[in-house]
């Protein structure tokens, strides 16, 4: 791939040179300019209007005391931020966001690695198992949420039936805020662990075979090889997964909306922003300020990722 890249750069350089000699704004340059804009402008305009503009507008809305749908708004500066961070809900929302993110990220990565190890074994059927494990990741969160809501149903769910078989009462998954959070976390991990498993599997399969064989000749058993060789060698994969799963956990919406519509115990930053603007209150300005806080957190994580990737490039 690298060779082809350099080839094409060299080729471009050759074709570019005669054009340059004719002057900067030759007919050909002007034509290329127009071709480029004709091809790229529609997409770039859409990205500008629906991706970049909202970021600016969000910051602007966050300085307003504004009810969604109302024609008038007053500028209140940082009041929305102050109100949010001093509100009685803030510790709950921030705590729920932290718990949800840490447990789902940790859970799907650890379980994903274990499943990847199982998929990496040399037995028949791994191809099917790999597809099956990945499938929930591509399914509608709404559909998946409903299926699991039925399974968790304290009256008629499979889980309640299994627990009754063990002589236990089913916990009130829906009414108890803490159990609601546990329930949503379990389903979120179920839906996303296939992604971690497949990424870890490709990491495992790209481990240097000669090094692993040497370790096994030196008498390291499977567990030893895994702990002192595979895990450290997989650290770039682990970091990549840490960032991507953290970003998606912080944006998790579908399952929370379907399984706990009131956000009772499961209101993360994104869900609180949704409830405040589109729930009962229509507090657009307040909601925008929560979105800005969430965006700031996501930005920090993304910058960390970019810096790490840069460093890795320098090492290699």
């Amino acid at each position: 791939m690298t060779k082809q890249l350099t080839d094409r750069r060299a080729a471009t350089a050759v074709t570019v040179t005669p054009g340059r000699r004719r002057g900067r704004w030759s007919a050909r340059t002007r034509r290329d300019f127009i071709v480029f804009l004709a091809l790229a402008l529609p997409n770039l305009a859409l990205i500008a209007v629906f991706t970049y503009l909202p970021l600016i507008n969000n910051i602007y809305y966050s300085t307003l005391d504004w009810t969604l749908g109302s024609a008038s708004a007053t500028v209140v500066g940082f009041d929305n931020y102050i109100n949010f961070f001093t509100s009685a809900d803030a510790p709950n929302v921030l705590g729920t966001t932290a718990t949800f993110t840490i447990v789902t990220v940790g859970g799907s990565m650890v379980l994903g690695l274990l499943v990847a190890l199982a998929l990496n074994s040399k037995v028949r059927g791994t191809t099917f198992a790999r597809s099956a494990v990945f499938a929930p990741y591509v399914l509608s969160g709404v559909g998946v949420g409903l299926v699991w809501l039925f399974i968790f149903d304290p009256g008629y769910g499979v889980l309640s039936w299994l627990l009754r078989g063990l002589g236990q009462q089913s916990p009130q998954w829906i009414n108890d805020p803490q159990l609601s959070l546990v329930m949503v976390i379990i389903v979120y991990i179920w839906k996303n662990l296939g992604y971690c498993a497949v990424v870890y599997l490709s990491g495992l399969q790209s481990l240097p075979k000669d090094v692993m064989e040497a370790a096994s000749l030196d008498g390291a058993n499977g567990f030893r090889r895994f702990v002192s060789m595979s895990v450290p060698l997989l650290s770039p994969t682990t970091f990549f997964l840490l960032i991507t799963t953290m970003l998606s956990s912080l944006q998790a919406f579908d399952l929370i909306r379907i399984m706990t519509p009131l956000g009772n115990g499961t209101s993360t930053l994104i869900y609180e922003a949704y409830l405040q603007a589109f729930g009962a209150y229509n507090r657009a300005g307040y909601s925008a300020s929560i979105s800005v806080v969430l965006f700031a957190i996501l930005l920090v994580i993304t910058v960390l990722q970019v810096r790490f990737v840069e460093r890795k490039v320098h090492y290699s």
């Binding site: 094409r8 340059t29 969000n58 809305y61 709404v142 299926v147 990424v199 990549f240 969430l294």
Partner: protein
């Protein structure tokens, strides 16, 4: 497992036996294959498959088979009543058509825009290409969830509430597809384009007769990932529609949930969930190679 390993893989085989090379079908080797290979594999597969199987079975069950103290695993028969009720309680047919339109139009436009932009970024001379590429890279990292409120105000302001174009329009710009295809176009050998250029083919012909045909797998990857995410998209259609005539399937399923939220309605809800999940499951089963590659993109190159 190396046969030279001094650590016996199964120390429980007894001390009286001489240390022997493990043969492919020795009992220890078989036990190890089953315990270490098949058991975790089957366990992981069951954890995924059983809830989906439960959805399928329950979608055929009558209220009497669900609201009961003793669990019945299999339905009494292939009763399609739940599907009929689901489709008459809420206009599921309408939702299905809406989802089809949104997914087809949205994905087609997105893929075309991605191909055009990626081609321009790689093969057309332009002074600020790097700046534009960075603009696209940054857009790739902007989470769509935080843009929901401003986009709602914008689209509702121009009359897009409860319309299909209002659902489709804000998602049309594509940073993901552009990025993925640009990376692929960079790897194409320059020679094939030079030949076309010498033949006098302009950019349009070079794009559709040379670049696009040799890049079909990458374009398919972008298309399938886009189809999956358009079909499943929830938060945006949920906010921009509140009338059944323009709802997509996931939003319509929420409507069904509101009207069938009691115990007896589970069978109907499972039938509804089937209608949302099964189309994507079929697409995934047929073309999972492209979908997995597209969704885990970056893990290997990152």
């Amino acid at each position: 497992m190396s046969t030279l390993s001094p650590v016996s893989p199964a120390p429980a085989t007894g001390t009286d036996l001489p240390p022997e090379r493990s043969r492919p079908f020795s009992r220890a080797n078989l036990a190890q294959t089953v315990v270490g290979g098949y058991v975790p594999l089957i366990l992981a597969t069951l954890v995924v498959v059983l809830p989906l199987l439960w959805m399928l079975l329950s979608s055929f069950k009558q209220p009497g088979e669900i609201v009961t103290t003793d669990l019945k695993v299999l339905p009494q028969g292939l009763n399609l009543d739940n599907y009929r009720v689901a489709m008459t309680t809420v206009p599921f047919g309408r939702f299905f058509i809406n989802s089809l339109i949104v997914t087809t139009v949205g994905s087609t436009v997105k893929v075309i825009l991605a191909v055009l932009t990626a081609y321009a970024l790689v093969f057309v001379r332009f002074p600020f290409k790097n700046v534009i590429f960075i603009v696209i890279l940054v857009a790739l990292m902007v989470p769509p969830q935080v843009s929901i409120l401003p986009n709602y105000i914008l689209i509702a302001g121009i009359g897009g509430k409860n319309t299909l174009w209002g659902i489709i329009l804000p998602g049309l710009g594509t940073a993901f597809g552009t990025f993925l295809l640009r990376q692929h176009f960079m790897t194409l050998p320059a020679s094939i384009l030079e030949a076309a250029e010498i033949d006098g083919a302009g950019h349009w012909r070079r794009l559709w007769q040379v670049v696009a045909p040799v890049s079909l797998p990458s374009i398919a990857t972008v298309a399938l990932v886009t189809v999956v995410s358009e079909w499943n998209d929830y938060i945006w259609p949920l906010i921009i529609t509140d009338r059944p005539e323009t709802m997509t399937l996931p939003v319509g399923l929420t409507l069904l949930q509101n009207s069938e939220g009691n115990g007896a309605g589970w069978g109907i809800l499972m039938a509804g969930a089937m209608l949302v999940i099964v189309p994507i499951l079929l697409v995934f089963a047929a073309l999972q190679r492209y979908i997995v590659a597209g969704l885990t993109q970056g893990s290997v190159t990152g």
